[in-house]
């Protein structure tokens, strides 16, 4: 079987700003990959490129064997690249769950409706099926008693757990987390990390951008250190965090740890 995520030589420009400068990365099925790196190194941009919230400028991103955002069309002996239609891209995105730093729950919907919305509108599930799924997931993240609450009535940690349930409701093959605990008060970080760890144990493929080095040590199969739009170092947590080979990595952990 191929890897779940294959990123090769990906570049991204914002105007003249060269944010990703040739990123290579592979994430196996069921693997948890934690991305660490200083602010502005392009971690969020990389995640956003994976589910096409941003268009890459060069390179290839393949998720579950499918080229993201593009199609290769063979005409005789030449192979052309065609952009995928909006509908096709939406289908690709629906296979990938994303959790944001600022939760981005839909404030006008209850917890239950937040989780049921995409399965109903994107997958076309009937209400009963979506509800069963949503209740199951909200119970899993420990919020079975908050189903009729609105996001504004929940703590940050609870909101982020709803956001995780909302992403999982689409039964994704891959979950992306962009600093899921950075907006939380310190005492609420643990409950979110616990849900993520539980998810990792269940075999979900996960790409996690975080500053929680402890989480990386405990849960990550692969740790990636990024700086200035490049993957500087990758390996197990013990290798990258415990015994970094590059001076940039050593400097970073010297400050963080």
């Amino acid at each position: 079987m191929t890897a779940m995520v294959e990123i090769s030589a990906v570049h991204k420009f914002f105007g003249d700003l060269h944010v990703l400068r040739g990123v290579d990365l592979e994430v196996e099925r069921g693997e948890v990959c934690v991305i660490l790196g200083p602010s502005g190194s392009g971690k969020s941009t990389l995640l956003r490129c994976i589910n096409e919230l941003e268009r890459i400028s060069a390179g290839r991103i393949v998720v579950d064997g499918e080229l993201m955002g593009l199609r290769e069309v063979t005409r005789g002996t030449t192979t052309e690249l065609h952009r995928r239609s909006d509908k096709d891209i939406a289908r690709q995105r629906s296979r990938i769950g994303m959790v944001f730093q600022r939760f981005n729950l839909f404030p006008h919907m209850t917890t239950l409706d937040n989780v049921m919305e995409a399965p109903r509108k994107v997958r076309g599930w009937d209400k009963a099926r979506a509800r069963t799924k949503a209740e199951e997931l909200l119970t899993m993240v420990g919020l079975s008693d908050r189903m009729e609450h609105y996001p504004a009535q929940l703590s940050g940690g609870q909101q982020q757990r709803v956001a995780i349930a909302r992403a999982l409701a689409m039964e994704p093959d891959l979950m992306l987390f962009d600093e899921p605990t950075s907006a939380l008060d310190p005492e609420l970080v643990g409950e979110v990390l616990a849900v993520m760890k539980q998810l990792a144990d269940s075999g979900m493929t996960m790409l996690v951008v975080t500053h929680e080095v402890g989480f990386a040590r405990e849960v990550a199969d692969q740790v990636v250190f990024m700086d200035e739009g490049l993957v500087v170092e990758r390996g197990t947590a013990a290798e990258v965090i415990g015994n970094p080979q590059q001076s940039r990595t050593r400097d970073f952990f010297a400050k963080v740890l």
Binding site: F106, A118, Q153, R166
Partner: protein
């Protein structure tokens, strides 16, 4: 253990307010002026209150009120539908539709409503026959312009098209006021643009869109008097002016019209008050926690408290 379970209620502060004598001075001055004004109004024979009373329920005038209401409601409905369409087109990916909406807003905001109404009235003169078909090719349907574009339709369309341009800007402002993270979250879940718009963005934007639309409705009530440019001659202002001139009594009939406009505006304002309370207009995020949310639904309170919608105080636009 030994400590009482309930906290004793302390004596609540009940202090005398700072005296503000200026309040009473102003009250006396205003009261005096109002009394003088009302006295003048009632005793001045030029107002002819007998005529006012005689014409207040004249069937022609009551019918005029009906037409005015119909024009107001009809043109607002046309305006709202157009505005939503134009605002969506302007945000969309199709450059042709984006251009259409930009030009529409530019033109209808950029020319006087009076001129537009004259034009709609002249349509049947400029184009005696309207037909649908391929340019220089065959015609599919064709009809007499005057049959379809009678004065009432011309007035409705004229007002509605003009209003749509203003409301489009209000709707656009509303859509832009919703946090981008909302669209991103929906997009990341695989939702189509249209689903994201109707299910996620517009319900939150309503808070910004609806209150100024109420304002526009009140403004429209009076703008309907301009349809004499078409000319459409059945609405309140035209009817009262015509009767007044006919009887050489313009003043009492102007008063009759003013009374009706005031009554309808008052009713609309009551409605507007409830709508604004429902959407929590003028309350910031902190307002929600201060409990300034009486009359709001749970859902609206939740949107307000989440702070995903920026309210722009400059959004009230009136032609």
């Amino acid at each position: 253990m030994g400590r009482p379970m309930t906290t004793p209620v302390p004596e609540l502060i009940n202090a005398r307010p700072v005296p503000r004598p200026s309040t009473w001075v102003w009250a006396a001055v205003v009261l005096l002026l109002v009394a003088m004004f009302i006295h003048g109004l009632l005793t001045n024979p030029n107002y002819r209150w007998d005529i006012v009373g005689q014409y207040l329920f004249d069937p022609r005038i009551v019918a005029g009120v009906g037409w005015t209401l119909l024009l107001t409601v009809g043109s607002m409905v046309i305006g709202i539908v157009l505005a939503v369409l134009m605002a969506i087109m302007r945000q969309g990916t199709n450059p042709v539709l984006r251009g259409v909406s930009t030009v529409y807003i530019w033109f209808f905001r950029g020319t006087p409503i009076y001129t537009q109404l004259v034009f709609w009235g002249l349509l049947s003169v400029l184009y005696p026959r309207l037909s649908l078909g391929i340019p220089f090719g065959p015609e599919f349907v064709s009809f007499e312009t005057t049959v379809v574009f009678n004065a009432a339709i011309a007035a409705l369309l004229g007002l509605g098209l003009n209003e749509g341009a203003y409301l489009a800007e209000i709707v656009r402002g509303g859509l832009n006021s919703v946090d981008r993270g909302q669209t991103e979250a929906a997009t990341a879940l695989g939702m189509k643009r249209s689903t994201t718009l109707w299910r996620i963005v517009i319900p939150q934007a309503m808070r910004v869109i609806v209150p100024p639309t109420g304002n526009e409705t009140i403004s429209m009530l009076k703008t309907t008097s301009l349809v004499l440019a078409v000319p459409f001659t059945l609405e309140l202002t035209f009817v009262t002016n015509a009767l007044g001139n006919q009887k050489f009594l313009p003043v009492p009939l102007l008063i009759v019209a003013a009374i009706y406009y005031l009554v309808i505006t008052s009713i609309l304002m009551v409605g507007q008050h409830y709508v604004e309370a429902y959407y929590g207009r003028g309350f910031d995020d902190a307002g929600a926690s201060r409990g300034a949310t009486k009359g709001m639904s749970r859902r609206q309170q939740a949107i307000l408290a989440a702070g995903t919608v920026r309210t722009n105080p400059n959004l009230d636009v009136t032609p």
